[in-house]
Symmetry: C2
Subunit: 614 residues, 2 copies
């Protein structure tokens, strides 16, 4: 019965069944040990997901593991990376920490990976230290005016440029190594002391905290562009990989960054390896349109314990599937369309699990997927909703936010609370909350949006920006992102996580129909399908495999990322910026070419909504 | 009422209404004057199509003209191309004909274009003549072992290599110009005399006959790759065009080819120009699934009068639309799905009209098109059906051929007659007629098959191969392909053209359903749609924009053309052939890469037919 799913009382039933204690239990279980991609801890989470999704009383119709063989980069546990200050006579004056300082058993776990830059080459450069701000092209250009950068080690703060870019931008000037750290002004609102200011006294990053990360530009497995990384798949030669650091780079804590003086010696012993990485997949089959998919994805792997990133999102997903699974097993409910759940592996190394999945099922997914919902970090902080998505789902997000009460504010909706924190005035709708763009490759929506052209959205709870300037929550990618941290500083009452579960449910209910039944209640099923297909396939019209030959995996002419920082029409914006600055005729031709690509795509999309061809 | 269209009596009604006299009239009208793309004669055929498709009593629901601005190449009427034999003292010993010999008013028409090689550069090379067989790479390689080819003019016969290739292959050896002619052994079964053997005494090519043609490799407008050639579209610089002759080339008749001796002077004055070229489009809207299209296409432009190529096909199309249009206007019939009719412009210059159309409506066409039916030349000769198509439509072609009586053989079906001329033994079906492949870019199906991955078919009537070895019908692309020629030697009683009309009707009727109603009669409409969509979209799974970076517009990993001459798996076949011959490790890697591309595509296609993802 189609109408059951739209029933408001079903939605209320669902919300009543969501259980904070269950969510807390999931979060505690998932974060017991570090679960970096392909580690033993990661394997334990694979089995944990499988067990829940195969549960007889609250599982899905089907769950399975999908394995890929992917190219990852690790530090050598037997030969840790080192950063030292050496005197001219080779005396070591200072040695940077190899592990973050321990404040409890979580940091003592031997499985905590040493802070490192994944995909940095190994090497032991030594040189005078120079401060290169954020490692942007303009930063090195400016430095180069007054200094000979050849043979130097650059130190940069995080932010402003992508991780790999800090090294890629440096190499042409002869820089031989790069250090990167989180500046207390960027991440800690300036606070620096762990005796009373930082974790474990607050959510701020301790002085020894280090943001780990993947230092690559292209997303997906680096050896198998455009092909799913199965065991037998052709792999490009390692030397053909693009977008990774050409010189050694290593992240350090601000405690060490502040005492470094020349000369600095950097010893990086990272090595790369082909590893088995798993997605865990699950499905609830649709009753009326089983060949239409709403996909809900979250990555499972963390850098260390990953309580916030990503286990907050994984707990939300597990509670969603538990409550839906129970309704399903009791025979009380089945969606109109299929819902596919994806617990992605190796996201931290470059969105690998989700990307390989889209490569493997390219045609099937692009022909049949109604929308992709991503939840990575479910709660960055505890003030307001933050949502990003394509324009086609803006109203859907608003409706979902109106249906759910704001955590801790009984009489206010998530929508009304959101409106207070972030809004814009739209000519058509007046004042509405500000919905972000999905232009980059910041989480697993990237392959869905940029490679397949599928309508997508991503949501989370975030800061009160009047209270902190932190670039991101301060424990991000450190050994302090633990259950202890999450339950003391982020969401002690599990009300934000619960609210995220409710929001997913409301959004998914709407996507199960796309068009409100009232609009088409009297239409024949084929006409409903036709109009739904028009909307579903709209964004595909914006794909052009020729649009960005130099940007791996980007085909969507509206939402691709822009080097010149323009949120829309990136191909044209970048070409225009370049032509304006160079004035070269060839660059103006390229800008004209981008206008033609864009206008053909826009016309193509418009034609998807029209019956005729004229 | 859906079932009406499947009704056998409707099909009989249709066939009874098809009128040989009408077809003859269309052919006569269309071939009154030469109608080379964008000429005044072409414009007259545009208006002719528009008038018929807009007819109140037998027109379509809607018809319109769609204009593109395309890059074409012509000889200079004021400075005709010349081929002369010169003595060392510059005395002209022989001058090749500039026009073909006249046997009647058709050849006298001042609008008959001089024989030329479209897209040959202008130039006036002179040199010793060398005979280069078919101008294949191996032909020049062999010659080069015994002769210094620098500064020579090569003469080749048609066949064995693409038109442009004969010059592209020659240039690296220092050849400065190329002549090409139709060898009487290849085209005339050796006959050469126009006093009693060739046209006007038979269908054979007169000694002065010259096959014109487009000497390019990439299909579509050469200045607007992947973008529809609208007025404002970005155009690549002319010097970036690939796949055209780097040295002057000119076609001549065998009469001249046989008397040429060294030295030869070649004077080519071709010039290129942006011209307005029109497709004429028409539609019959579907009653149940208006957003599913069966597309029927035929090019309209010829090199001269083009009675066989393409007006035989255009007459068939006009009779199809006349009879369907009458049923439609009388309210007696409407298809379940929409039928789109395309009368393509500038096919002879490289499939331009159809390609630009697919570029403009890329997404809409690929999401919604059930199949493309191409009829270019409808009757090459008068013996048997010749059909090509993807495997998914083989049975459909067989059914159509069984429903239509063989022309001139009252008690035999087209199918049974076909079986006598060309068959193969299939393990599953026993002896069946041989259906050809659509691997190349020989007619307007190319962009549909290779660029959009749409299931396609092409049919025509052709020779008795035991009676002639002619490479193609001998008047092909000459000034002798006239109404007189067609009505005396190809289809005097217009029975083959009538039969082609009936075949189209039968094929289109089946495509209006794809799945026989009996199989799914009791299923709900959404399930029928789902299964139909699976079949419709199957071939799209075989598209990979990365598969053939060096082959313009080819993305279909099964049906792309192969340089090594293998009909299927062209990417792998070519890479394998190359690796086997070079033995280089890098070439073996490329072959492995092609296997991965292929296996991902095949698995992707298989998954289109499966409900699950495992
Ligand atoms: Ca891959
Ligand atoms: Ca074009
Ligand atoms: Zn994450
Ligand atoms: Zn992360
Ligand atoms: Zn033709
Ligand atoms: Zn032709």
């Amino acid at each position: 019965d189609v109408s059951r799913d739209l029933d408001e009382s079903m939605l209320q039933d669902f919300m009543d069944a969501v259980d904070n204690k269950k969510i807390e239990g999931f979060l505690r279980d998932l974060t017991k040990v570090p679960h970096m991609a392909t580690s033993a801890g990661d394997e334990a989470t694979v089995e944990y997901m499988m067990q829940h999704w195969n549960d007889q009383e609250s599982g899905l119709d089907q769950a399975w593991r999908q394995n890929y063989v992917v190219y990852l980069s690790f530090p050598d546990p037997k030969k840790p990376n080192k950063v030292t200050v050496v005197a001219p006579n080779t005396t070591v004056l200072h040695t940077a920490r190899e592990r973050e300082k321990s404040y409890g058993p979580d940091q003592d776990d031997p499985e905590v990976v040493q802070p490192y830059a994944a995909y940095s080459p190994a090497g032991t450069p030594q040189g005078k230290l120079v401060y290169a701000n954020q490692g942007k092209p303009s930063d090195y250009m400016l430095l180069n005016k007054t200094l000979d950068l050849r043979g130097t080690i650059a130190i940069c703060r995080y932010g402003g440029a992508g991780r790999a870019e800090k090294a890629i931008n440096a190499a042409p000037y002869g820089v031989v190594g790069v250090l990167v750290y989180s500046d207390p002004l960027d991440i800690n609102d300036g606070l620096m002391s762990d005796s009373n200011e930082t974790y474990p006294h607050s959510w701020y990053m301790p002085p020894s905290g280090v943001e780990r990360g993947s230092f690559n530009t292209d997303y997906g497995d680096l050896l198998t562009p455009y092909l799913a990384a199965k065991e037998s798949t052709y792999r490009i030669p390692v030397e053909n990989i693009t977008g990774i650091p050409p010189i050694p780079i290593q992240p350090i804590g601000f405690e060490d960054a502040y005492v470094l003086i020349s000369d600095v010696k950097l010893e990086v012993f990272n090595f790369a390896k082909l590893k088995n990485s798993s997605n865990v997949m699950g499905i609830i089959r649709g009753s009326v349109e089983p060949d239409r998919y709403v996909i809900y994805g979250n990555h499972r792997d963390s850098w260390v314990h990953g309580a916030i990133d990503p286990s907050s999102g994984t707990s939300v997903m597990l509670e969603v599937t538990r409550v839906l699974g129970r309704l399903l097993k009791q025979g009380r409910w089945r969606p109109r369309r299929s819902i596919i759940f994806g617990s992605w592996g190796a996201e931290e190394f470059g969105l690998i699990g989700s990307t390989e999945y889209t490569e493997q099922y390219y045609t099937k997914l692009s022909e049949r997927t109604v929308a992709y919902i991503n939840v990575d970090i479910a709660v960055f902080a505890n003030a307001t909703l933050r949502a990003s998505g394509m324009p086609s789902v803006q109203n859907l997000i608003f409706t979902a936010a109106k249906q759910v009460k704001a955590p801790g504010l009984e009489s206010t909706s998530v929508y009304d609370n959101w409106l207070r924190y972030s809004n814009r005035t739209s000519p058509a709708y007046g004042t509405v909350p500000r919905v972000g763009y999905l232009t980059g490759a910041g989480s697993d929506y990237a392959a869905f949006v940029h490679y397949l052209g599928i309508t997508a959205m991503d949501f989370s709870y975030t800061y009160d920006r009047t209270k902190t300037k932190a670039r991101i929550y301060p424990a991000y990618h450190t050994a302090y992102d633990t259950f202890d941290y999450a339950s003391r500083y982020i969401d002690p009452a599990i009300v934000f996580l619960k609210s995220a579960v409710d929001l997913f449910r409301s959004a998914a209910t709407q996507l199960d129909q796309i068009i409100k039944s009232s609009d088409l209640a009297n239409e024949i099923p084929l006409k409903v399908r036709r109009i739904n297909d028009q909307l579903m396939l709209m964004d595909r019209a914006f794909l052009d495999p020729q649009a960005f030959p130099e940007k791996y995996g980007f085909r969507h002419v509206i939402w691709a990322s822009s080097s010149s920082g323009n949120a829309t029409f990136p191909g044209f914006a970048d070409a225009f910026a370049r032509a304006s600055s160079s004035g070269l005729e060839g660059d103006w031709f390229r800008a004209h070419h981008q206008i033609s690509i864009l206008s053909q795509a826009i016309n193509g999309a418009a034609h998807m909504l029209m019956d005729g061809f004229q």
